[in-house]
């Protein structure tokens, strides 16, 4: 199996009709396709939320704690709010947090990683700082930040981004260290290339593949941490329907109305799984050497 590389796979994709090519791609990269389809579905659901789901805030005490039925697909909670509508709207928070954290942590981590990997004098100090930041639990940081300011999505994102940055930095720095020892970097220096250009043109593009893969893992873990923070009351304000908040509020009635916990929980699990599958698939595609080792 070790002999089948992705280039060989590419060569095997028939050059025929587009449909046949798509089918071949699906057959060869099932994890990417499943992850991407699930994720696109979730994003579509979130964008369509105002049309497909009702008002997530409307309370109807008459309909408290109804089990799933034709009228309330996912049942209702203790205030008679529609769990389906709340879950669909809650996806927005998870997706925003996941994508923003991945984007921000990726960008900040990329810059710091490039600097650390290339300028060896800064490296020692900066990496010890990164080790220190890595040791901060995001939950404690979030609680500290919220006590200093008021709860909100921005604070949650900041609280997750800060401890995630070092994970990206480590990956980028490791790649930069190996790239800068490559003869083509030496050649570029010998050709009189300026340092900024050298970093942007020769080093940065080579770090992108592992960075993208790492960013998907950060995205998945950010969604989980956000749900955890919301569940503990240190996340987005409780009136916003996020999956963590829905689970936290349903906790008290867990034994008589388990759907208030299980359904948003299942959505969270599926979303994280989708992102991780996409990440694994991308890793196999973008870095076949790493995939074979694992």
């Amino acid at each position: 199996m070790a002999l089948t590389s992705t280039t060989a796979n590419d060569a095997l994709v028939p050059a025929g009709r587009p449909l046949a090519r798509i089918a071949a791609f699906v057959r060869r990269n099932p994890t990417i396709v499943i992850g991407a389809v699930l994720l696109v579905g979730l994003i579509a659901m979130t964008l369509a939320a105002p049309w497909i789901a009702g008002d997530p805030f409307r309370q109807a005490p008459v309909n408290r704690l109804r089990p799933p039925s034709e009228r309330f697909w996912f049942g209702t909670d203790q205030f008679g709010r529609d769990v389906f509508s709340r879950t669909v709207h809650g996806a927005r928070v998870s997706l925003i947090v996941g994508l923003t954290v991945a984007g921000l942590a990726g960008l900040i981590g990329l810059v710091i990683g490039l600097v650390c990997g290339y300028f060896r004098r800064i490296d020692g100090i900066a990496m010890r700082v990164m080790d220190g930041i890595m040791a901060i639990p995001s939950i404690l940081l979030a609680i500290a930040l919220i006590t200093l300011t008021r709860p909100g999505l921005g604070i949650v994102i900041a609280a997750i981004v800060i401890p995630e940055v070092p994970r990206i930095v480590r990956v980028v720095r490791a790649v930069v260290l190996s790239i800068r020892a490559q003869p083509y970097v030496e050649s570029a220096i010998a050709g009189g290339t300026r340092t900024a250009k050298l970093l942007a043109r020769h080093i940065l593009p080579n770090t992108l593949a592992p960075l993208i893969v790492q960013a998907t893992y950060v995205c998945a873990s950010a969604m989980l941490i956000e749900a955890g923070l919301s569940f503990l009351g240190a996340g987005v304000p409780p009136e916003i329907p996020s999956w963590g908040n829905i689970i936290a509020q349903g906790r008290t009635f867990f034994q008589i109305a388990p759907w208030t916990i299980f359904i948003p929980g299942a959505f969270l699990a599926i979303t994280v799984l989708a992102v991780n599958m996409l990440g694994d698939g991308l890793r196999d595609r973008l870095d076949p050497r790493l995939a074979r080792r694992m």
């Binding site: 060896r120 490559q182 003869p183 083509y184 030496e186 050649s187 570029a188 220096i189 010998a190 050709g191 009189g192 290339t193 300026r194 250009k197 043109r201 020769h202 593009p205 080579n206």
Partner: protein, 335 residues
């Protein structure tokens, strides 16, 4: 003729936890315009460090040029600012490295990698630089250059990649091309092609070449003059023909005797063919200062004074310089 590039008493030392490594310790040579100069010696003798020193590419964390001068175009390269040095690299003095397989950036196409240098140094617009890149590919005889411009390094063979490296090095018409073992990683037929190509382009463009190699066969085929290095010093410097005919340093002689020669002896009379011999011993560690000649422990001609005081590089006959106390005996022995 005034030399184009003149290295005088160059000393490049590395500062390691084991002490100071005197990788280059007093190297002098000169390069005339359009000349091909071979820089020869075994691994670790300081050839590559000399080349890197000329371009000031020694990593400052580990080593630096501690003495001597490198004069090029009326300026001393050791005194230039790093910005002035960057202007010079790839423009006036270009370098090709040993590894054609990894010497090109895998994520940029060939055209971009050539054009980038043209834009950088000749200040041409991008379009014109791409045209120049195509011309360069034609010049280094890559078939279908227009198509190749848009291809990536993994689509080229080793020989083609080295041609691209040469194209990048020569695209700004440098006056000096430093080639550090340019053919070592290639198979023999491709080696010959690449060397022929380099020589041909040298004639066409008037570039002087410093060819760094440990392959004396390559030197014999290509170089006009040879500098032999040992343990960070120049031990012998001579026109190629004179060096191969009458080596004056025991080290050079050892190197030549270790080389099979097609012209000596014949297959009908194997007895007349000289036995291949090796040079006994190892290259000395360069962390300790050596009081006399560094070659003494391996030298068959070593006398008392060799171990005590270092011989100077002196002219034995016209333009044949040797650094050996016993050079006269080496020559006498050969006859």
């Amino acid at each position: 003729m005034t030399p184009l590039l003149e290295v005088r008493d160059l000393r490049t030392h590395f500062f390691t936890s084991d002490g100071v490594v005197r990788a280059v310790d007093g190297v002098s040579f000169a390069l005339s315009p359009g000349e091909t100069l071979g820089l020869v010696g075994e691994s670790g003798c300081g050839k590559s460090v000399t080349a890197l020193s000329i371009l000031r590419l020694i990593a400052p964390e580990t080593g630096r040029i501690v003495g001597g001068s490198i004069r090029f175009g009326g300026r001393d390269l050791t005194a230039l600012s790093s910005e002035e040095m960057r202007e010079l690299r790839g423009h006036r003095i270009a370098m090709i490295f040993q590894e054609p397989m990894t010497g090109l950036n895998p994520v940029l196409n060939i055209g971009t990698q050539i054009a980038e240098s043209v834009v950088r140094h000749l200040k041409l617009p991008w379009r014109a630089a791409r045209d120049r890149a195509r011309e360069m590919l034609e010049l280094v005889r890559i078939a279908d250059p227009k198509q190749r411009l848009n291809e990536y390094p993994h689509q080229l063979s080793g020989g083609m990649r080295q041609r691209v490296m040469i194209a990048i090095a020569l695209c700004c018409n440098p006056q000096v091309l430093i080639a550090d073992e340019p053919t070592t990683a290639l198979d023999v037929t491709i080696q010959a092609q690449i060397l022929d190509l380099m020589l041909e382009l040298k004639e066409k463009l008037g570039t002087a070449i410093v060819l760094i190699t440990h392959d004396l066969g390559v030197v014999a085929e290509t170089c006009e003059r040879v500098v032999v290095m040992y343990a960070g010093r120049v031990v012998e410097q001579a026109p190629a023909a004179a060096l191969f005919a009458r080596p004056r340093h025991p080290y050079t002689r050892g190197l030549l005797q270790a080389l099979p020669r097609a012209d000596a002896g014949s297959s009908e009379q194997p007895a007349t063919r000289p036995q291949l011999t090796e040079i006994p011993g190892m290259v000395p560690a360069l962390t300790q200062p050596i009081p006399g000649c560094a070659f003494v422990p391996r030298c068959g001609f070593a006398a008392q004074r060799c171990a005590q005081s270092p011989p100077e590089l002196e002219e034995a006959e016209s333009s044949h310089l040797v650094s050996c106390w016993e050079a006269a005996r080496v020559v006498a022995d050969a006859v």
